[in-house]
Symmetry: C2
Subunit: 123 residues, 2 copies
DNA sequence: CTGTATCCCTCGGGATACTG
DNA sequence: CAGTATCCCGAGGGATACAG
């Protein structure tokens, strides 16, 4: 079967890995409201280093998820914007984001229960 | 705002990272058809090492995504199964999976175009 | 402002061997 | 069968300095 990520050599697997990346989810999410400049993205995605931001943006551009537009002005101005492909991707990503927010409490509770259990069972 | 993954200290961010993990996506996907034994999961998720499989399974159990059931028989038999929370998660994850499969070709093409562009521009 | 270039160090995760 | 325990390597990614 084509495009089966359960096969280790399938390119779909790499793609899945890329879009599942924490930074990718956040960056694509940040751009759903419209184009943003380099620095703007950095500010929205708290904690990302400049290096990683650059790397992630470039690979997203390469994958056809984003478009990069450089304005020949001084100081430089560069905008990043979702392509159609990127906007398509934004939907499932947003669902994941919503799921995380919605179920955060349950997960936190589950963790606490699990940890308590293990501390107690540590007889 | 609560549950904002754009804040680096928000727990939702960690959760998003966890569920976005390549192995998590594949494991949860593999379990949507029903419970599986440890070795079965390992076989379905091609390329995962035993260590990582164990780690990922444990953290998913801790997060309340999976239930682990050990049968006191010899040889040991352990089954992993999605919780209700896990089944809820399976949906958005499946969408991501489908997206990746559906758009793999476009991404591959975009990469080729990007690389060609860059090779040419490398004057 | 928007990157590029290094240094460097942590840690994810593979390989292997052993246990209940 | 289902793990646990080590060893160990390479990549990810932070900090910092510099460039167009």
């Amino acid at each position: 079967m084509l495009g089966n990520p359960y096969d280790r050599d399938c390119p779909t697997r790499q793609l899945l890995d890329r879009i599942g990346d924490q930074w990718t989810v956040l960056i694509v999410g940040a751009l759903t409201d419209g184009p943003l400049r380099f620095t703007e993205i950095g500010k929205r995605v708290d904690g990302i280093s400049q290096k990683v931001l650059t790397q992630t943006l470039r690979s997203l551009v390469r994958d056809g998820i984003l478009i990069r537009t450089a304005y020949p002005v001084i100081p430089p101005k560069v905008e990043y914007e979702l392509t159609q492909l990127g906007r398509n991707l934004a939907e499932p990503l947003d669902l994941l984001d919503r799921w995380a927010r919605r179920n955060m409490d349950q997960v936190t509770a589950a963790r606490a229960a699990y940890d308590a259990e293990n501390a107690a069972t540590a007889s």
